[in-house]
Symmetry: C2
Subunit: 278 residues, 2 copies
Amino acid sequence: MEENNTTFTYKYPRPAVTTDCVIFGFDGHDLMVLLIERGADPYKGMWAFPGGFLRMDETLEECALRELKEETSLQPGMVEQFHAFSSVHRDPRERVITVAFYALVKMAEVRGGDDANDARWFKVADVPPLAFDHDYILRVAMKQLRESIFFKPIGFELLGDVFSVPQLQRLYEAILGVQFDRRNFYRKIMQLGILDPVEEPVEEKSPRFFGKKKEMKEQDIDTLFLEPMTHRYSSINLEADFLQSPVHKEAGRKPQLFRFNRKKYELLKERGDFRLEW
Amino acid sequence: MEENNTTFTYKYPRPAVTTDCVIFGFDGHDLMVLLIERGADPYKGMWAFPGGFLRMDETLEECALRELKEETSLQPGMVEQFHAFSSVHRDPRERVITVAFYALVKMAEVRGGDDANDARWFKVADVPPLAFDHDYILRVAMKQLRESIFFKPIGFELLGDVFSVPQLQRLYEAILGVQFDRRNFYRKIMQLGILDPVEEPVEEKSPRFFGKKKEMKEQDIDTLFLEPMTHRYSSINLEADFLQSPVHKEAGRKPQLFRFNRKKYELLKERGDFRLEW
DNA sequence: GCAAAAGTGTTTCGTTTACACCCATGC
DNA sequence: GCATGGGTGTAAACGAAACACTTTTGC
């Protein structure tokens, strides 16, 4: 923050107001959450959600998006407010209430580096103890996520543009913590009619990477994947690319790839017919 | 507020933080909402939700309950936080963000008078233009209410201790704005097993009124009901008593009365089996 | 060929929907 | 009696759950 010699005086005491963002991602197998390492006290060195103080000329949503961009370079299309936390001593310094948001991002689109060297993805099942009341905030966010998944096409925000039905199923299973019958899942998702099949990629288009990494060669992938997965941005991006890629590494039949058809989804939602339940 | 000569100074500007409560009730036919008439500018004379400023030693929930009690004498068991509103100019005086709650109360238990002479129930379909952004807050609250009704036994909080299945159906229809088949509703609600039948009231127990109004006689009811329903507390209470009462005024078969069995409901909820869908 | 994973079809079962019928009450 | 509203039963339609079978791919 810049130098500031002015002060602000009020007749009654006021709490400080912050926003925090719980950013969810999906690496193809586990639900992930983005944390940043605190560089200053309190809780210096601990992990926490990106967030910061509300400015007078912005809404809470704008604040959440701004702080998120500043701290992680991420710019999701929207963040969803889910709860305000207001325990009197949740911040040891002074009275702070925070309004928490969650957002779903395609990990493939996360471009790290920048000033976000202290940001890292963690498996949700595997997060370390967090600063402030952020452990609690995460639990509430998970609860919200599970409830929202029935009414919103949440899954699609977390996957790449192109994905397979089995990938989508793994995502739903990771979020809800249950197992579905492969065949029933397939039929149910297909009969919603919101997935458009994608033909096999033409060979001249870089078949293994989207975006800027065309200089990489096929064998680089294997080399890089031999590294232990630290889940730092550098390796995360590769994993995300792999997720997006039509490359099929596993045994078994190669899955059909699909694209999410947002228009058809909007139509369904208008009619109140969008319900993904199991 | 009491005299206050002290001031509070901060390095950065801070918004004022308030809470607002959307209180829902049900009069047997329509979903109602409790509003108070503003006695001071801004928006003097307009209707608004009860609410007020957060104190430093209370959580948002505590603030909501305190303000509600101060302004309407109401003390619901719980209030449910649903959204924080933060448009920059939502309060013309200064920057104020508000955290909104909703609560469901049995109108029968509303005991007015006190310092709440400017409080009044309105049909939700029929509210006047409200102060600040409270029209918008109401719309969001209604949306939340409709979504929550599937997972929580919301209906039961709004009805008296003793109610009939048709009454419950009217409530669901009022909230969701749809019509259900009488017979299917009956079966579905009964097979949840959370309603205990109530035998006909013994004659010696005041058969027409619960609570403190035993001095009233039967014909008083008719007299009072001839008054135009202003929906001020004085008449509201009577209407609510009528709702609770086992008296049957309409044509047709007298409905069986039930009591909500909270224990059985808790059991269902534990197992995730509580779903009231139509 | 074999194992593993993906896509398709079918059968069963339970729930929802629609509606017919009878019961109780007030006028 | 008759109109009105409340409680019970039943059959058809629909969707969910379970599972057998075929196809495709990597080794």
